[in-house]
Symmetry: C2
Subunit: 189 residues, 2 copies
């Protein structure tokens, strides 16, 4: 029998969301989360740089979904098409199974400004990753920046809509609609 159970991060993340949902983010201490899964506060902070970070664990994998979508676009495709491909790929990542989880998580975030800040930071990190990917495929600045920021913005707007109560379209469908709106916006006037 192993001395430590595997999946410590995941257990901490799950317990954190439950406690935050039940009693609020500020009312929950890091020590409490750790204790609830049989660990100490010090171990919590070994896994997460700060208390907020425990809610943003999956970030890396969905950033990867964007990058996969960038790679899936044919070489020489215009930036707009590359962004569309990235959004489709991300849309596939957030399947319907994740929606309930995303809603619970978002409710916690929306109740706390410090968590909203962290979420915006993650959005910026996504844009930075997209930017690097655009540069890597030969798109120069400022086009690369504009494409990357647009991808992050469209995703963010689409995601907000995706988790709205009653919404049942897929994230990919919604994102495609928002991206079309960007085109309309830029064409008019």
């Amino acid at each position: 029998m192993a001395r430590w159970q595997p999946g410590t991060r995941e257990r901490l993340a799950r317990a954190a969301l439950e406690l935050f949902s039940a009693q609020g983010f500020e009312q929950t201490t890091a020590a409490e989360i750790a204790r609830s899964v049989g660990l100490t506060e010090r171990t919590f902070f070994r896994h997460f740089a700060d208390k907020r970070e425990v809610l943003f664990d999956g970030q890396q994998s969905f950033t990867q979904a964007f990058l996969d979508g960038v790679e899936a676009a044919p070489p020489g495709a215009p930036p707009f098409e590359v962004v569309a491909s990235a959004l489709r790929s991300a849309g596939r990542f957030f399947d319907d199974e994740r929606r309930a989880f995303a809603r619970a998580r978002q409710a916690v975030i929306e109740a706390n400004p410090a968590l909203q800040e962290r979420e915006r930071h993650k959005r910026a990190a996504l844009a930075a990753a997209m930017h690097a990917a655009m540069l890597a495929r030969g798109t120069a600045d400022p086009a690369a920046s504009v494409a990357a920021e647009t991808a992050a913005t469209v995703f963010s707007l689409a995601f907000q809509q995706w988790i709205r109560p009653g919404e049942d379209r897929t994230l990919a469908q919604i994102a495609a609609g928002v991206l079309a709106e960007v085109r309309r916006f830029a064409a008019a006037g």
Copy 2:
């Protein structure tokens, strides 16, 4: 004679930037900033909700510059034109006199992730203000959201370029170029 010296916030903000520049954000305590202008830590936190906030004091006034630009656009102008007008107005706000200050401030922010987070939060606040202004002038969602987010994105990208060493174009000029790039991006593909 006044009981307190006026401009307490400004003196704190100025002293904070100096200390942060000289010895770093984390190495500077709120108490130290307060002491350096003859006040107590408690007074510092009466003026600023947290230590980071002292670097983001001017936010409200430049958000107003955006909103003035929105109002300056003729009724019925397409969202793209409204955004262009807002960016011109904001460009006027950041005159050349502010550039050196902005550079010093940005150097501090770039050295600290927590400050970058706050900056992104302010960018989001700007987008929210623009969103409300677009709705108020009759632009419905999702067009209003797209316009507001684009305004914030273009400003952010243009601002980064504006404070780059050696850059001497005005912010308005740079922003106009970035906005044109958005149009190109959305038209191609």
